[in-house]
């Protein structure tokens, strides 16, 4: 029974039930129906309640069925690799406000080359700065697209 807590559908169902409850509760704080017709809470209340009901069905069905669709833990290393890449992507995206696009993107690229693909430092530096310079040249210089600029202007 303990492993059922890690059933994919149970986890997803509970998370979506929480979201559905939040949406429905929040919607009730706005006008549902006024003199001019439905208010801003009308539509969200409808899909919020439906989301809550469906997610509970998903959870119950998962709990009642004999076989368990456990979260894939077989490829834990793969998931960790993907999630760590995502974390670095998110961090470098947010840091671009300070570092600018060129440096932030170069660091992200170097991480991918070195960590995900296990390439040597030469490839890392070459691809990192090459891609970054290419983007800066094409988008900022040729197409005039605004990109986050660091203290040095790019």
């Amino acid at each position: 029974m303990a492993s059922r807590r890690f059933d994919k559908d149970v986890l997803a169902g509970l998370a979506l039930a929480a979201l559905g409850s939040f949406i429905a509760l929040r919607a009730t704080s706005w006008d549902l129906m006024g003199e001019d017709g439905p208010g801003p809470g009308f539509f969200p209340l409808g899909y919020g309640v439906l989301m809550l009901a469906l997610s509970l069905v998903l959870t119950l069905r998962a709990l009642l069925r004999p076989s368990i669709h456990a979260v894939e833990t077989g490829d834990l290393a793969g998931h960790m690799r993907a999630l760590l890449t995502w974390a670095v992507f998110a961090a470098s995206a947010l840091a671009m406000q300070m570092t600018g696009f060129v440096l932030g993107f170069a660091l992200l690229t170097m991480f991918i080359v070195a960590y995900v693909f296990r390439r040597g430092w030469r490839s890392m530096v070459l691809v990192g700065f090459g891609c970054s310079a290419g983007f800066w040249l094409v988008f900022t210089q040729l197409l005039g697209v605004e990109l986050p600029a660091g203290p040095w202007g790019f």
Binding site: D31, G37, V57, L94, V127, C131
Partner: protein, 501 residues
Amino acid sequence: MEVLNGLGQGFSVALQPMNLLWCLVGCFLGTIVGILPGLGPAATIALLLPLTYGMDPTGGIIMLCGIYFGAKYGGSTTSILLNIPGEASSVVTCLDGYQMARNGRAGAALGISAIASFIAGTFGIVALTVMAPPIATFALRFSSPEYFALMVLGLSLVVVLGGSSLIKALLALLVGLWLTSIGTDLFTSQSRFTFGSSFLISGIDFMIVAIGVFAIAGVMESIQAGEENTPLPVPSSLRELLPSMEELKACRFAFANGSIVGFLVGVLPGAGSSIASFIAYGIEKSVSKHPEKFGTGVPEGVAAPEGANNADSGGALVPLLTLGIPGGGTTAILLSALVLWGVKPGPLMMIESPQVFWGLVASLYIGNIVLLVLNLPLVPVFAQILRIPLYVLFPIIFGLSLVGAYSVSDNIMNLALLAGFGLVGYVMAKFNFPTAPLILGFVLGDAMERAVRQSLTMSQGDPTILVERPISAVMLGFAALILMAPPLMAALRRRRLAVPH
């Protein structure tokens, strides 16, 4: 006559040098994208859309449709040469295409794929040309209740056909509806779900959701799977790409089968080209004199799914252009692109923006010829793209995503949202939730809410307005049937299985 006049006007627009150039650029980019595994047409159009903001709407939509059609053509290359489908719709092509390649007929398989794509693609565009005007004329009778019912019907089909679990698809759709509610209510200016953030008051831009869910999540999945690409031998000359007369003869029925099945399935929202190619392959195998040979490298096994995959594109444009209802992720992005340029797809599009509508249709004919010319002799050149190492390709996809998201409003918060939606897309994939319903819910949510609120305002709050009008009643009835059919069938099946015990 109306169609011929429209087409004449369309060709005068599509043959303008700049529009021809955009058509060529779109087809070229689409073919490259189709060849690259992991980067689908939806993600590419989402990535490149910000670059077309400043373009003339006709040129912009011509280029985006070129990408859409080109990706379908190019998708077969990796299926045949690597046994890796470039797009989900090219999965079936792997079955016989890769076997043909292993039997030394890689060139013929690529050639048959290009010819089938051309024949079926052209059939799909002809059918679009003929069917669009009467459908648009009929849709002029629609008011808010009918539009609401139509969206419910379309989304029901998407939910039922788009994934393995009806509940999960519905939940994904509801999350999409919620995401589109974030921001200011258009009727009352009430802020909804903004969590006190001034950034969220204007809502979340569709591009950020699409790029995150398709492009970022796609790369994360490839990284998780530990994909590596290896260079491969490719046909080096046009002669190697030409199928023999026997092979072409064997494909006669497959060309027709793929064309008809692909178009009909394409018109249905949510069915998508993957289903079209599976059905066409299934029909081909069932009517074949040698069904046992399917899977060992028969040319019909390549022609039928590839034809269906391409005819589907013309079919998918019918509901998009005539009703304003996209049937899948890629057409949802095309819809948002048209809206961005101030063009409203729907029954009035042919009247309000004839140059865009007919220019697009005419450019599809031109694009199809361009794609055949590009694909037959240039496949060996395009296949060289497969040599780009993934450690260069993935950063490029990330870079394009960052540029695309940031350029929506030059705000760093867009990048935070982009990362968030990338994670959402990845988690959805890992938990077996389909992403297309989320995207369609996001795209149609606003219009759906507007339609239902306008309907209830018209009836002073009486919901029976939705079932009193015949067209909307019929459409809602169909939607209910569609949604109830799978659980009812499952219950019946369980009952039948339980009887012997």
